[in-house]
């Protein structure tokens, strides 16, 4: 059975590109338009990996990670940040919040698939 990835990003084009890339690699992809939407979808279904942006309306990526980590259901779910932010300060905050990895946009499709395979197989 294909593993499910939750892609959280307020940019429709990024969601489409992430979805296109991961689906072509054989994964199921659920899309969410911001942190709040992502949280609801993560609570609702079985998710193997979360791929989230940082700067989004309503709830940003770091808050989403902290909130998910506080849930028993997603305490150990791999969470990757996919963002334009690349400062060391932000990466440290991400690591402290419980992120599994940090990918800087724009992403290379091959690299994304490699990282996802490394994290969830």
């Amino acid at each position: 059975m294909a593993k499910t990835i939750l892609a959280v990003d307020d940019s429709a084009s990024i969601r489409q590109m992430v979805s296109f890339t991961l689906k072509s690699a054989g994964y199921e992809v659920i899309e969410a338009v911001d942190g709040m939407d992502g949280l609801e979808k993560a609570k609702a279904g079985s998710i193997n990996l979360v791929l989230t942006d940082q700067n989004m309306p309503r709830m940003d990526g770091l808050t989403l990670i902290k909130t998910l980590r506080a849930l028993h259901q997603h305490a150990t779910t791999p969470i990757l940040m996919l963002t334009t932010e690349s400062s060391d300060t932000m990466k440290s905050q991400g690591r402290a919040a419980g992120a599994t990895g940090w990918l800087v946009k724009p992403f290379d499709p091959q690299k994304l698939i490699e990282v996802v395979r490394k994290v969830i197989g």
Binding site: D9, S11, A12, S13, I14, Q16, M17, F20, T21, Q54, N55, T83, T84, E85, S86, S87, K91, G94, R95, A99, T100, G101, W102, L103, V104, K105, P106, F107, D108, P109, Q110, K111, V115, K118, V119
Partner: protein, 296 residues
């Protein structure tokens, strides 16, 4: 400026008083007859008179035509400055509004164009995938079909030996032609697969490039936040100009200067606070290469 000094009339009166005292003192010193009680009384009255006249002129100095003209002139300068400030800040606000609206429009057009590009890209990719599948199916099916033909010919040849002997060379030629077609089809399918690989590499590049909309949108968002900051400054400057314009009298304006200075200080502090909000630019990329990957 009103209240800044003593007028010419007042100076005359102030100088006249000691001059009169000096003349009387000289008279007293030179002529003993001048020291009579009547003269002393007259001198006292004269001095008091000078004092009364001087104080009267000093008090009414503000109302003198010269002072009034000065005050009017000062008032006009303040009014003109305030009006100029109002005009500039209003124009500044208008321009900021225009820039914001143009940025928004550019963003909308850009998003729509990228949306169409992504749609086309997905369509093209879907067709390429379909073509590749067809090529692979053809490659898989071709040897089976040729093998079936060969088996049919062999079977037919076994049943009709006379026919085979007579048409042996024809059958051999047919088999050679079929093998040639098979080889040609194999080459074509191989080439198709090569093209499919190249298309896949191009698709990856397209996926990388089509993400630029998000990067540009975030940059434009940051530009918008900077415009908001400038708008705040323009609004505050407008309020400052209105306060200046509303003060009815130059004296009142002078009194209001302390309040205005406080206002400017607050504006400076506000700028520092607002600047913190736009200091962190979420986009540090200068080109469009793939970003770094780091696993914790």
């Amino acid at each position: 400026m009103q209240g800044s000094g003593v007028s010419t009339n007042n100076k005359i009166f102030l100088a006249g008083l000691p001059w009169s005292v000096l003349v009387v003192a000289t008279l007293w010193a030179s002529d003993p007859a001048a020291r009579s009680l009547a003269v002393v009384f007259a001198v006292v009255v004269l001095v008091l008179g000078w004092m009364v006249v001087t104080s009267l002129f000093c008090c009414s100095a503000a109302s003198s035509p010269g002072q009034l003209a000065n005050a009017r002139h000062d008032r006009e300068i303040i009014e003109r400055s305030s009006e100029a400030m109002l005009r500039v800040s209003a124009e500044f606000s208008t321009q900021l509004g225009e820039i914001r609206s143009e940025v928004r429009r550019a963003q909308d057009i850009f998003s729509e164009a990228v949306g169409h590009l992504i749609g086309s890209f997905q369509d093209i990719n879907m067709h390429v995938q379909r073509q590749r599948q067809l090529g692979m199916a053809a490659q898989d099916g071709m040897p089976v079909a040729i093998e079936d033909s060969e088996q049919a010919i062999n079977k037919m040849a076994a049943q009709e030996m006379t026919f085979v002997l007579a048409a042996k060379s024809d059958i051999e030629q047919a088999k050679q032609r079929i093998e040639a077609v098979n080889g040609c089809a194999g080459d074509t399918v191989g080439e198709l697969n090569l093209i499919a690989g190249q298309v896949e590499a191009a698709v990856n590049k397209a996926v990388l490039s089509l993400q630029f909309q998000d990067v540009v949108t975030q940059l434009l968002g940051h530009v918008g936040r900077r415009l908001d900051l400038l708008d705040e400054v323009a609004s505050d400057e407008q309020r400052l100009a209105e306060v200046l314009l509303d003060s009815g009298h130059p004296e009142a304006t002078l009194r209001a200067l302390d309040a205005l200075r406080d206002h400017v200080d607050q504006l400076a502090q506000k700028l520092v606070t607002l600047k913190k909000g736009v200091d962190n630019n979420p986009v540090s990329q200068t080109g469009h290469a793939g970003g770094d990957v780091e696993l914790f």
